[in-house]
């Protein structure tokens, strides 16, 4: 399908999947929080065994809650007591230091079974009552996972919204050596940036990473053959296949909510147009037909429409259409540059890249009231991807000379960065709920 020069870069590690942990983890740096975060005290979990614990469960839970921007976690040094069982809780110790909620727990290690028993309890300080608690029994390598689960339970119990601490993020790193040679890597990591696992390494550009709705696969664009092609890779096994390698553009893959279709941008018919590929039958249907650029499709969560970017009005603006390309209508009118829209999970808003005063920021648009809110302030923000609970989004920005990932709440008030130790980090994609 690609006319010539296929295999130019045959030496790149096409298809070679490198698994295992590596040192490309991201760290968390909180810059802003909401105005009135909920004060929660997470007491260090009592260790009921002699061996030291491989992971600091208390720290993980505290960091998770803090990172959401909706909580502020009490410093251990300010705690008046350190209870680990219900009968040790004195509510006054916590109301005195202004706490609304209290989390306590303990961990026991069984040498015979080589497992850890982790028990947590959540208390409401105002109402002076036990709220929720649970016990998990896991091996050492799953301590972090369980800690995130506990964070999810606490977050959901208090806010009524599902937590996203057990979700994953996918992203691309780029390192350029002294000779100008590029090293692109595709990673999947925990939502807090830890446990990064490499899925692809190539000297050619990798971009447009998109999670399948079941959280088991990634679609992305790689130039590893010298020309762009769309691949689908299974995260767990690393197996992958080429789904589109026509002459010209193969870009912007977007899954339908039922996982049956992949919308994408192809220029095989001469111009950038949006198509939808039936992943079961291989049937390809063209959705747009305009001499302008049509690209960056994204399905609505209800599966009824697709938003996309088109410069048919003279510059990039966001449009929507039915899933067969019918009723194409313009959605954005504010500013000269609005592109790469993604729906929020409730179908009510879109988030996208908006240019104003020369800066490119992430903005949201309420589809019923047509109210636009600019969520970020740095000059080169792009690639927004919604967290599955609709509360936050991850995006790529520039800090110093490097690209970094940042997360901002949908009200624009809470924000944190996920800086990498080296090189550029870009093209983030937030996974759906995994379990």
């Amino acid at each position: 399908m690609i006319v010539k020069n296929v295999g130019w870069f045959g030496f790149v590690m096409a298809g070679l999947v490198l698994t295992g942990l590596c040192r490309a983890e991201l760290t968390i740096e909180i810059s802003e929080g909401v105005d009135n975060p909920i004060p929660v005290a997470v007491v260090p979990f009592a260790n009921r065994s002699v061996a030291p614990l491989p992971d600091d469960v208390r720290q993980i839970i505290s960091d998770d809650l803090q990172r959401s921007g909706e909580f502020t976690s009490l410093d251990i040094s300010r705690m008046l007591s350190l209870p680990s069982r219900g009968d040790e809780v004195r509510y006054r110790d916590w109301s005195l230091v202004g706490q609304s909620y209290l989390v306590i727990g303990d961990i026991e290690y069984s040498q015979i079974e080589n497992v850890y028993s982790i028990r947590y309890e959540l208390y409401d300080v105002f109402q002076e009552k036990f709220v929720v608690g649970q016990k998990y029994v896991v091996t050492a390598d799953r301590l972090r996972e369980v800690s995130h689960k506990i964070s999810d339970r606490i977050y959901e119990t208090i806010t009524g919204v599902k937590g996203i601490f057990s979700t994953k993020i996918a992203y691309v790193t780029l390192n350029r050596d002294a000779k100008g040679k590029d090293d692109y890597r595709l990673y999947v990591a925990d939502a807090d940036g830890r446990h990064a696992r490499m899925l692809l390494q190539t000297t050619e550009p990798v971009l447009s990473v998109a999670w399948s709705p079941n959280g088991q696969k990634l679609a992305y664009v790689s130039f590893e053959t010298g020309r762009p092609a769309i691949y689908i890779q299974e995260v767990e096994s690393g197996n992958r296949k080429t789904v589109s390698a026509y002459t010209g553009l193969n870009s912007a893959p977007a899954w339908s909510p039922d996982g049956k279709y992949l919308a994408m941008t192809l220029s095989k018919d001469g111009n950038a147009e949006i198509y939808k590929l039936n992943l079961e039958t291989g049937q390809l249907q063209r959705l747009t037909n305009h001499y302008a650029i049509d690209t960056e499709p994204s399905w609505s969560p209800d599966g009824k429409s697709i938003v996309f970017t088109s410069d048919r009005s003279g510059g990039p603006q966001i449009y929507w259409m039915g899933v067969d390309g019918e009723r194409q209508e313009r959605l954005t009118f504010d500013g000269k540059y609005n592109a790469r829209a993604r729906y929020t999970g409730d179908n009510r808003q879109i988030i996208y890249v908006h240019q104003s005063d020369g800066a490119f920021n992430i903005a949201s648009l309420d589809l019923s009231s047509n109210t636009q809110l600019i969520l970020t302030q740095t000059p080169l923000d792009e690639s927004p991807s919604m967290a599955p609970n609709g509360r936050m989004l991850i995006y790529a920005t520039q800090r110093g000379r490097n690209g970094v990932l940042a997360v901002v709440s949908l009200d624009g008030k809470a924000k944190y960065f996920l800086p990498s130790s080296q090189g550029d980090v870009r093209e983030p994609s937030w996974s759906p709920y995994v379990n």
């Binding site: 006319v3 971009l207 762009p228 690209t295 960056e296 790469r340 080169l380």
Partner: protein
């Protein structure tokens, strides 16, 4: 600014004239000796004496003039060929932000590429389209392709066969210059003809 424009336009006219000359040089070269042969055929075939007749003198003068003209044409062709080669050294063509129209100052060099590629059917080129880092990556991929295709279309309109050109867009992935300011961005919004 106006003077520069006028100069560019003039140069374009001359170059176009030379270009059309290039296309027909072969025919003229064949055409001139054909006329000559006819004249000399009747003259030299009829007589072979030491004295020059008026006819012979005229023929000699014609021959001298023809040689001079041929030399002049050769010099012109050489100058033109040098000029064309110099123009073909320009392989990168720049674009305005979010635009994919070829700038007027690019047409001279693009015409030189078109003439060369069209005259050499075995030559194949790849037109690479690029965008600066601003805006979204997938839109920039499409934008880079529009830029590459604009160059491709110019070459085809100017005589290059479709199968001699391939367009590929790298979007914002391969900046020519690293940097986060307009001077760098301007150098990155480009299409490059790669032979």
């Amino acid at each position: 600014m106006k003077g520069l424009m006028a100069k560019t336009t003039l140069a374009l006219v001359i170059s176009t004239a030379l270009l059309s000359g290039c296309g027909t040089t072969g025919n003229k070269a064949e055409g001139v000796p054909a006329d000559d042969q006819q004249t000399s055929g009747t003259t030299f075939g009829a007589k072979n004496t030491g004295t020059l007749t008026a006819e012979e003198l005229a023929a000699q003068q014609a021959e001298t003039a023809r040689k001079a003209e041929a030399e002049r044409m050769a010099r012109l062709a050489e100058a033109k060929s040098k000029e064309q080669a110099a123009l073909r050294a320009i392989r990168t063509f720049y674009f305005d932000f979010d635009k994919y129209e070829i700038k007027s100052e690019a047409t001279l060099a693009l015409s030189a590429h078109a003439a060369f590629i069209a005259a050499n059917p075995s030559v194949k080129v790849v037109v690479e389209g690029h965008a600066d880092e601003r805006g979204t990556k997938d839109y920039n991929l499409a934008l880079g392709e529009k830029r590459a295709k604009a160059v491709e279309r110019f070459l085809i309109v100017n005589g290059v066969a479709r199968n001699q050109i391939e367009s590929v867009s790298y979007g914002e992935e391969r900046p020519a210059v690293m940097g986060h300011e307009e001077s760098s961005w301007a150098k990155n919004r480009r299409a490059v003809i790669a032979y």
